[in-house]
């Protein structure tokens, strides 16, 4: 793995550790000990990253937000991978009318801008608990995975080892499951890692405009939403979550690129 890829892994690990251990160390992200006196404090030994306008400890919120943002993204990516793989395999493997129909469905899914669907759904269902948000995100991200998997399926259908399996008399379904499906996994893995970055950003963006993670649950986007009016008086409230976001997305992108280089050397 390249140096940059390793950097990505390191960053993600740091974030994971932060997400898991942080809330324990830091305490309650929602505690407002002294909204009047202890608000908007600069970093100190008491509050490692300071406090926000409601005297909530920023470090604690950042850690709790890390946990939630990462969980949401992970759920989103898994859901998208599962649904997308299913659709993609089916679209690629089933011949004739049904296969074409499935392809049309995938194309349709791709034609709908993801943000539009998300906003419509969220307008209808309102703020939801964050795991469900993850599912909704995933449910809007499957077309891209499906297109990828379909492409891989089509390519692998003609691979020699698949033809060999058929020649040995293996039934189609079995060939699909045992030979083709594992062949699509590297592409899905790469896409999912890169998709992690997208999911993190989408969740942050949605929370930033007030429709994502439901308060009092903390999330980086939510922290930005809260900090919007304080950008001139307390800019660190805005930039600390930004740094976290950038770290997380860069890590996922670096790792994804590195994975692509090692698992899919043919894609330059």
């Amino acid at each position: 793995m390249t140096r940059l890829g390793r950097l990505g892994v390191v960053l993600l690990s740091v974030l994971a550790v932060f997400a898991i251990a942080g809330p324990w160390i830091a305490g309650d992200p929602n505690a407002q000990p002294d909204p009047v006196g202890a608000s908007l404090l600069l970093p100190s030994h008491l509050h490692w990253l300071g406090t926000d306008q409601l005297s909530r400890d920023i470090f604690a919120r950042l850690a709790a937000g890390a946990r939630i943002s990462l969980v949401v993204a992970a759920i989103a990516v898994s859901v998208a991978a599962a649904i997308g793989s299913a659709f993609g395999l089916a679209a690629g493997a089933i011949p004739g009318m049904s296969g074409r129909l499935l392809q049309r469905l995938i194309d349709l899914g791709l034609a709908l801008p993801r943000i539009v669907v998300l906003l419509v759904v969220l307008a209808a269902v309102g703020r939801v608990h964050y795991p469900l948000l993850g599912v909704i995100l995933g449910a809007t991200g499957w077309p891209a995975v499906a297109r990828l998997v379909r492409g891989e399926t089509l390519r692998l259908k003609h691979a020699q080892y698949v033809t060999a399996a058929h020649a040995l008399g293996a039934p189609s379904a079995r060939v699909l499951w045992r030979e083709i499906f594992p062949g699509t996994l590297p592409a899905v893995l790469v896409a999912s890692t890169l998709g992690l970055a997208d999911a993190i950003l989408l969740e942050a963006g949605l929370s930033f405009i007030g429709v994502g993670v439901r308060p009092p649950d903390a999330s980086w986007g939510g922290m930005l939403y809260d900090a919007r009016d304080y950008i001139s008086s307390a800019p660190w409230l805005v930039f600390i979550p930004c740094v976290a976001l950038v770290m997380a997305t860069s890590a996922a992108t670096l790792l994804g690129d590195a994975l692509r280089r090692s698992l899919q050397p043919e894609t330059r």
């Binding site: 034609a111 709908l112 539009v116 307008a123 209808a124």
Partner: protein, 312 residues
């Protein structure tokens, strides 16, 4: 060509249908929450539900230009959208223009002169553009250029204090002044894609034998770059246009919120937060159509740019 247009229209239609069906499939009553906050007269409510109840009703309405009524604002959705279309179109069109001219030029430039400071700068910009989400870029710009340096206003589309009798020129300048930062944010956020694409396309074309053949004829480097690298590299980029539009749409939503730019994106964000479902759907349909138009535009341009396609 005609077939392609038909395709685009069909896709837009079907996508819209899917969107509405999706709405009906969701559990619960989508309108309940917003009606709770903004109650309306029972007959108005009944008409509203009727409008979205069946497909014929929806498309009949669409053809009449009726997209329903916004619950929060108690005004026709179509009117509200029309008001907000201008700013978004302006922002989007200019971003498109800059991305696909500067982006292409920079991409080719950095491909023809690799290992130079400029190429590295371009590389850095692409990474930054990729890594930073549009709203972070927006907030950074606001902080640095508006709040710290006071070079530009932090938001809005015009100065509220500007008198309505002010000259056209000063109003224009005021608008441009307000446009600068949101535009910058959009460009930085979306430039990376055409730039990277063009850079790899230009790298690929620069390596093509016909470039070497042109140099062998003694043609000046500038002409070689333009005629033999730039133009052939345009072809794959044009297809990118179709994929770039959805990105533009997403970027627009977040940037408009950061800068309080009164466009469709900001409208959509607010409407979603308010759970004003008719307005969100109306805005959503508009964006779906925009994306399809973009894709169609890309196909038309592709036809123009690639002679092989023209005779195919």
């Amino acid at each position: 060509m005609l077939r392609r247009t038909g395709d685009a229209i069909a896709t837009a239609l079907v996508a819209s249908v899917v969107l509405v069906i999706l709405l009906h499939l969701l559990p619960g009553d989508p309108l309940a929450a917003v009606l709770g906050d903004h109650p309306v007269a029972p007959d108005v409510e009944a008409r509203m539900r009727q409008h979205w109840a069946t497909l014929p009703a929806i498309f009949g309405g669409l053809l009449r230009g009726d997209l329903g009524q916004s619950i929060v604002q108690n005004r026709p959705v179509a009117t509200i959208l029309a008001e907000h279309l201008g700013p978004t179109f302006l922002l989007g069109a200019l971003t498109l223009l800059i991305d696909f001219t500067a982006g292409l030029a920079l991409g080719v430039w950095s491909a023809l002169h690799p290992d130079t400071m400029r190429a590295r700068f371009v590389g850095a910009v692409t990474i930054v553009g990729y890594a930073l989400p549009s709203f972070v870029i927006g907030m950074l710009l606001v902080w640095v250029f508006a709040l710290k340096l006071h070079w530009f206003p932090p938001g809005g589309v015009s100065d509220v204090l500007l008198s309505p009798d002010a000259s056209f020129a000063s109003r224009l300048v005021d608008h441009l002044w307000h446009l600068a930062l949101p535009l910058a944010a959009m460009v930085i956020a979306t430039l990376a894609v055409p730039l990277r694409q063009q850079r790899s396309a230009a790298l690929a074309t620069a390596a093509q034998p016909w470039v070497l053949a042109a140099r062998a004829r003694g043609i000046s480097p500038g002409l070689v770059a333009w005629r033999h690298c730039w133009r052939p590299a345009l072809t794959p980029i044009v297809t990118l246009l179709g994929l770039w539009f959805p990105m533009l749409v997403a970027g627009a939503v977040f940037v408009e919120v950061v800068f309080q730019w009164p466009g469709v994106g900001l409208l959509l964000a607010q409407a979603t937060a308010d759970r004003d479902v008719p307005l969100v759907i109306g805005g959503g349909l508009l964006l779906i159509i925009a994306v399809q138009l973009g894709s169609l535009l890309a196909d038309v341009l592709y036809h123009v740019v690639d002679p092989a396609q023209r005779h195919a």
